[in-house]
């Protein structure tokens, strides 16, 4: 009898450490951001103040500017998908040297964001090498103040994001391509289908799931995981001025620089709710991406 109930309980002992860890790192904070967002927190706690934090956040121009910047970053996603598709499909053709190309195009994903942001910031300085190259090609009108001008700075960050996140896309897409059923492609080739026809009608339709998955993952990145890019490129302040301010930095400033956890929590709650909305498309895209892969392997 004792043996039997011990056996029945056994799985719970195995998953207990997992539950404790997730409850502490995710569960506890998610519950408390809701609580904090209705309180005027000073130090570790404070009085309930209803919706005051939300009113404050939502009436602040800086918050909306941050939101707008995160939304603007979404414009990078089509470029990332196009670049990743092109490069991964070309790599998949296994042209001479493709293994070396593959090692190199994965490098942006290996290099840490802060490191690459420091390097890119120097490259895009007004007196830096990028402008020098542009002038060399007599494209002086394009030699902008990439970092220092508030009209351009966020676009420069976007170039960096596209450069790095495309590497993830290439990794994902190439993994999918490697599992394609090659016999259909061979048959199409024998039937005289051109390269473009094969790509449009055979390869890309089979990659729909993984493309959707990459798109959803990228939406989450643009809305809530660009802190390291912005922190370095924007000089820690989302600069010049507030030109590269994003929601993550808004939360960081409220928590660390102005010590207003209640305000930071209200913004966190809104970001959390957005991420909850994105869980469903993420799950269904992942399911489709995996089904695609299993489907072709059978």
């Amino acid at each position: 009898m004792v043996m039997k109930s011990a056996l029945r309980l056994q799985p719970y002992f195995y998953v207990l450490p997992l539950i404790v860890l997730l409850a502490f790192v995710f569960g506890y904070p998610i519950v408390r951001i809701f609580e904090f967002s209705f309180k005027m927190v000073r130090g570790v706690d404070g009085p309930w103040i209803g919706l005051r934090n939300y009113e404050l956040v939502l009436s602040q121009g800086l918050f909306w500017e941050s939101v707008l910047h995160n939304l603007q970053l979404l414009l990078a996603i089509p470029a990332m998908i196009a670049i990743s598709l092109l490069v991964s499909i070309l790599l998949y053709e296994r042209l001479p040297g493709w293994k070396l190309y593959r090692i190199i195009v994965f490098i942006p994903f290996i290099l840490a964001v802060p490191i690459i942001a420091v390097v890119m910031k120097r490259m895009f300085q007004f007196s830096g090498p990028v402008n020098e190259v542009l002038r060399w090609f007599s494209l002086d009108f394009m030699a902008l103040d990439w970092i220092g001008s508030s009209n351009v700075a966020l676009w420069t960050v976007m170039i960096l994001i596209i450069w790095r996140e495309s590497a993830l896309g290439i990794i994902l897409f190439l993994a999918r391509l490697m599992s394609l059923d090659e016999s259909i492609l061979e048959a199409a080739k024998l039937d005289g289908a051109t390269w473009r026809q094969r790509v449009w009608h055979i390869i890309i339709p089979q990659m729909r799931g993984v493309i959707e998955f990459f798109a959803v993952v990228s939406v989450i990145t643009m809305l809530a995981a660009v802190f390291a890019y912005i922190f370095i490129m924007g000089g820690g302040r989302g600069g010049p001025g507030t030109a590269t301010m994003v929601i993550e930095l808004y939360i960081f400033n409220a928590l660390i620089r102005t010590s207003l956890p209640g305000i930071a929590a209200a913004a966190s709650v809104m970001l959390f709710l957005v991420s909850v909305l994105l869980i469903f498309p993420l799950f269904s895209a992942r399911r489709r991406a995996r089904a695609e892969e299993v489907g072709t392997q059978q």
Binding site: Q10, F24, G235
Partner: protein, 272 residues
């Protein structure tokens, strides 16, 4: 076999590869230039390579200390998460119990929750407990953040192991921990390689958690150190680049040495 189409394809690949490599090339070449040379020539190869900047960086800034801190966090968080996830994923994949599917679904869903959402209460709580700027405190947070991915990856992998292997071991009288140790782990090496690579990259490269939870100079990670370092030497580009070469060297060397594992690990860990 050399058709015009293939030439265009090669050209596109060479160009993309070049773009992927440009920042690395710029970083290395500039680090080898003297300030005077960089002032006149920002693009060319270093004419008279100097190593002074590397020496200055290493004397002036505690890069080695920062790297040691980052390494401690990577080891702590990756091992902690691997152990916890391995045991849990084993139960989820091979045992029947109530709440199992719910647990896996919840854990997996947490992958979509951005880390920034969790920092406010954790920061307040850690301040209260005096856990700010402690390795243990940061390791727990990192371990938590990477665990949903670990559980998902391992559960998916464990489920592909043939049931007969479990049955045979059970017939031989092995208990479930012995089965995990002698049957499951030996065939799961590829999954663990992926897990270690993806998770180590995450912890090593993170900036957000590092600057909030490790504010003490002595506990600063490499990425947090870099963000201060680059601000301090804003106008000395070659010196800054020497710092970046040093900072990127460990991962770069590991990548080149273990490229096969990295490429396979990243490709199988990508659909998380």
């Amino acid at each position: 076999m050399i058709s015009p189409g293939n030439i265009i394809k090669q050209a596109v690949l060479v160009f993309s590869t070049f773009l992927a490599l440009v920042p690395t090339l710029f970083m290395i070449m500039t680090a080898l230039k003297s300030n005077e040379e960089y002032a006149i020539d920002k693009l060319g190869l270093p004419q008279a390579p100097v190593l002074d900047h590397f020496r200055d960086v290493l004397i002036d800034s505690p890069f080695i200390g920062w790297m040691t801190n980052s390494l401690i966090l990577v080891l702590g968080a990756v091992i902690l998460s691997a152990v916890i996830s391995c045991i849990a994923a084993y139960a989820i994949a091979s045992m029947e119990f109530r709440g199992r599917d719910w647990l896996l679904a919840t854990s997996t869903a947490l992958m979509a929750v951005p880390p920034v959402v969790m920092i406010v209460p954790l920061f307040v709580f850690y301040t209260q407990l005096g856990l700010i700027s402690t390795y243990a405190g940061a390791i727990i947070i990192y371990a938590g953040l990477i665990t949903p991915f670990s559980v998902y990856l391992l559960t998916t992998f464990f489920r592909t192991i043939p049931k007969e292997l479990f049955e045979a071991a059970r017939m031989d009288g092995a208990n479930s921990l012995q089965i995990l140790w002698t049957v499951v782990l030996p065939v799961s090496l590829p999954a663990f390689v992926t897990l270690i690579i993806v998770n180590s990259l995450y912890v090593w490269n993170d900036l957000l958690i590092a600057i909030i939870f490790l504010q003490d100079d002595a506990k600063r990670t490499l990425m947090a150190g870099i963000s201060i370092f680059q601000g301090r030497y804003n106008n000395q580009v070659p010196l800054t680049m020497a710092g970046m070469v040093i900072a990127s060297a460990p991962m770069f060397i590991l990548y080149i040495l273990f490229q096969k594992h990295f490429i396979r690990g990243l490709m199988s860990g990508a659909v998380k």
